[in-house]
Amino acid sequence: MHPLRLTVNGKPHDLEIDPRVSLLDLLRENLSMTGSKKGCDHGQCGACTVIVNGRRINSCLSLAVTHEGDDVTTIEGTADGEALSPLQAAFVKHDAFQCGYCTPGQICSATALLDELKRGEPSVVTKEKVELVDEEIRERMSGNLCRCGAYNNIVDAILEVAEART
């Protein structure tokens, strides 16, 4: 067992854990926060995406012990208090999900993506500077598989929020 202190959605945790536990399993099993989903457990689907120190990562491929002192935000912490965040609301409005299983990962991913856009970080389709076009969002969201096929609606939801921010 190994000690671990980290903050999840603003709440500090002081834990003793098996070093084999992934960040995803720590959230789901040790902390009973089942919003983050396990779709592949190997970084191939994005359903487990959470935000660590402001950056989105696949929580399934990250050993929890490596997150000493980190600040983790999950889907349970993305809402504005009781109300849905603008992205969450836009996902509902645009029907940006069907079964909903990939949705927590999509929304965490999109939440971090908005900050990446703000910082002007490039994607492989970026030319000189980042532009708010479909292709940018599609490329940047390609790490979140959606088998139901809500991709078009996901792009619409993200663009709506991104445009409102600029």
């Binding site: 098996d18 089942t34 909903g100 490329e139 959606c146 096929g149 809500a150």
Partner: protein, 741 residues
């Protein structure tokens, strides 16, 4: 029921009522459920061989690992009825026994289950189980064992296995234009984002399972038939399902294994299949070889159609995919022959995957039709219009509704169809292609109940599931509109075998069947309420209940109104039941949903990489129950079609019977960037022969036609017909133009 009674809430693009739960991580899928007792975690040990008998199994090392509570093998598994028995209710209800004997049924078949306190403990211990298997040769490829091919006892969808209309040989011989081809479509996996998962808990002989399943009523029978217990003693809970696409119609190995583990340990056991498990412990769409021969006359009228399909079936699991079935209802022809053969193999369960039959059958058939149109020198849209049948070509039955012509013509207009365009744009070879879509429209029995509580709120209950289909939402709309109340006054509860039995989700029959049952229940409750109102209120005494109506949660007559909550309170709550069953029109008429799809692809002139640029679909699915969720259903289907044309294949190493690309890095489903803006149009309609709601199936329609439209566009771009799906760059390399410069 006439059309106007339903005007209003039904059809509106209402946001999903379960949306807020799903976007906030509060929707509880099977593996999210946490009871009061901590769950033990099960991990499956898979067989490395496809066929054989276990000769020894050593679990000592695993058992001595920290946290391990039990290792289940065929030697200590609870008693079960043999796999495949008691199958009167079909393959979903039959015994799904796992590890009943030392027999290995397929590669990846469970040979042991390790149950431990944590996933980390179980996963590590699972690798310490030592198993010896006396391996035998298995059958994995129907083509190499075609000598063992047989006509299946029945086809999925209970179509006729073979058909013969007219004299195919004579008509084909006389045809001025003849095309033929042999096609291969691969095994595919539904790859729902949620892997199959189950939490099982026993209380004596009573079993409770939280699991990911599309049809609860069959699942209940499956557990009962496997463990020789009463169906009433099986309680299945499945409020949210993380995608199904057919792969969760029935129970799969983890479900039975969780029950084994729970029995042996006396504690609830949770097994979430890991992604590699899903490829062998979940079902897959079987591979097919299809042969097509088509003939047409000088005027571009089809004379002869031959379509045969050879596929593989898992032993003792009667699923034969009806690949040539959609062909039977597609075009007018003088002669038509269709045939299905299967070889029994030592493979994981072959089963339904979204649009079984059509997804592979129209992929090849609509590609071949394109070739025939090309051969006749007729525009592919015009060719299809010209060969539209007036009645079902095989059965001679009238179509309930058939708006194929309109789909074709509207699609051509929306897309800007100018024939199979082929042009160069810089480094890209651009091609346009199109195809028709057809998918049977089914109806199944279903029941539902509705309850008015003392506070005036309505609760609808049925064991239907919402697998992303929008069922919670459309049933809310149907109940609200039928009752005459706003959707906020209705709560729909699904996914629990304690609720009235339905057909569940599958075959695109869910919405029409269960929606009708809900409407029926709501109608009964409404009639009851109005009659009570007519009796209850002094001033209305003697009024005819037919003159009363419900408006905004009030019963109204003239200037007076009475809140329904008051009636609820007075009566201590009211409830009503409803039911639906297929009408005789499902026997006397040919019922289908239709569509036409148009694709623009770009092929890299250097590498042959294929990218989809545009996809337009126009669909006739009868009455649309929710414009927003219906569009999403079609969109999802179209993306499955993209996958079928360009990406998806479960590759088996036939030396071992092993699927090798058993993860989402290697089994490619479309990613966001693979999908362009999809242009979707729904032809308005009301099919009164389908069900009282006027709707037709929509969940599988979008996949039909999308794949062949793309394949036909690839032909337009490159001049090359690829008859092996998915189409990859290597198939096109030799057809690419010489390099520039």
């Amino acid at each position: 029921m006439s059309e106007h009674e339903f005007k209003g809430i039904i059809g509106q693009p209402l946001d999903r009522v379960d949306g807020p739960l799903k976007v906030s991580g509060q929707a509880t899928y099977a593996a999210d459920w946490r009871g009061t007792t901590p769950h033990l975690i099960g991990y499956i040990v898979e067989s490395p061989v496809a066929k054989g008998r276990i000769t020894s199994i050593d679990t000592k090392a695993a058992e001595s690992c920290e946290g391990v509570r039990a290792v289940v093998t065929h030697e200590n598994a609870p008693s079960q009825i043999p796999f495949g028995e008691r199958d009167k209710g079909g393959r979903f209800a039959q015994s799904h026994a796992v590890m009943r004997s030392n027999e290995v049924r397929h590669l990846g078949y469970p040979v042991a289950l390790v149950v431990a306190d944590t996933l980390e403990q179980a996963r590590h211990a699972a690798l310490l189980v030592k198993v010896e298997i006396d391996a035998q040769d298995g059958i994995f490829n129907p083509e190499t064992h075609e000598d063992q091919a047989k006509a299946p006892d029945g086809l999925d969808g209970s179509d006729e296995v073979d058909t013969e209309d007219g004299d195919f040989e004579a008509e084909y011989a006389s045809a001025g234009h003849r095309v033929e081809g042999e096609f291969h479509t691969p095994s595919q996996h539904a790859a729902a984002m949620e892997p199959h998962a189950t939490v099982a808990e026993w209380d004596g002989d009573k079993l409770t399972v939280h699991m990911s399943i599309q049809i609860l009523s069959d699942g209940r029978k499956a557990f009962a038939n496997t463990f020789d217990i009463k169906p009433e003693d099986v309680h299945i809970v499945a409020p949210f399902i993380g995608g199904g696409f057919g792969s969760k119609l029935g129970v799969h190995n983890e479900a039975i294994l969780a029950a084994h583990g729970a029995k042996l340990t006396g504690q609830p056991v949770r097994i979430a299949q890991h992604r590699r498990n899903v490829f062998s412990n979940g079902p897959h769409r079987p591979r097919h070889r299809q042969r097509l021969k088509l003939g047409a006359d000088e005027n571009g009228k089809i004379l002869a159609i031959h379509h045969d399909a050879l596929s593989i079936m898992a032993r003792d699991y009667p699923f034969a995919e009806a690949a040539a079935s959609p062909t039977r209802a597609s075009y007018a022809t003088k002669a038509m022959r269709t045939q299905h053969r299967v070889v029994e193999g030592d493979i994981p369960k072959a089963d339904s995957m979204r649009a079984p039959g059509e997804a592979v059958g129209t992929l090849t058939f609509e590609s071949m039709i394109d070739e025939l149109a090309h051969s006749c020198g007729v525009d592919p849209v015009e060719f299809r219009v010209r060969n539209e049948p007036e009645m079902d070509p095989h059965s001679g039955k009238p179509f309930s509704t058939r708006k194929m012509r309109r789909c074709l013509q509207e699609g051509a207009e929306k897309f800007g169809w100018q024939g199979p365009v082929s042009r160069r744009e810089g480094n890209w070879l651009i091609g346009h292609g199109m195809a028709a879509a057809i998918r049977p429209n089914l109806m199944q029995p279903a029941e539902a109940e509705i309850e008015l509580s003392t506070d005036g709120h309505l609760t609808v209950r049925l064991d239907m599931t919402d697998i992303g289909t929008g069922t919670y939402t459309i049933l809310t709309q149907i109940a609200a509109e039928t009752m005459g109340v706003a959707p906020e006054h209705v709560t729909v509860k699904l996914g629990d075998t304690d609720f009235p039995e339905t057909c569940g989700s599958g075959g695109s029959f869910g919405a029409g069947s269960t929606g009708t049952a809900v409407a029926d229940a709501a109608k009964s409750l409404k009639d009851d309420l109005l009659q009570r109102a007519a009796k209850a209120d002094g001033e209305w005494k003697g009024a005819n209940s037919k003159d009363l109506r419900i408006e905004g949660a009030n019963i109204v007559l003239g200037s007076r109104s009475l809140p329904i909550s008051e009636l609820g309170e007075r009566s201590g709550g009211l409830s009503a039941k409803g039911a639906a069953k297929p009408g005789k029109e499902h026997d006397t008429m040919a019922q289908y949903s239709y569509g036409a799809q148009f694709a623009e692809v770009a092929v890299d002139a250097v590498t042959g990489e294929i990218r989809l640029r545009r996809l337009t679909g126009v669909f006739d699915a009868g009455r649309i129950l929710n414009e927003k969720t219906a569009r999403s259903q079609l969109m999802g289907g179209m993306i499955f079609g993209i996958g079928a044309a360009l990406m998806e294949e479960s590759l088996m190493d036939e030396r071992y019977g092993a699927f090798m690309n058993r993860d989402l890095a290697e089994y490619h489903i479309a990613v966001n960037r693979d999908v362009p803006q999809l242009d979707i149009h729904m032809v308005e309609g009301f099919d009164e022969n389908s069900n009282p709601l006027g709707s037709k199936g929509i969940g599988e329609l979008g996949i039909c036609g999308a794949g062949p439209a793309i394949a036909n566009a690839v032909f337009a771009a490159t001049g090359h017909r690829v008859r092996k799906f998915p189409i990859h760059m290597e198939h096109l390399l030799e057809s690419l133009p010489p390099l520039d410069g």
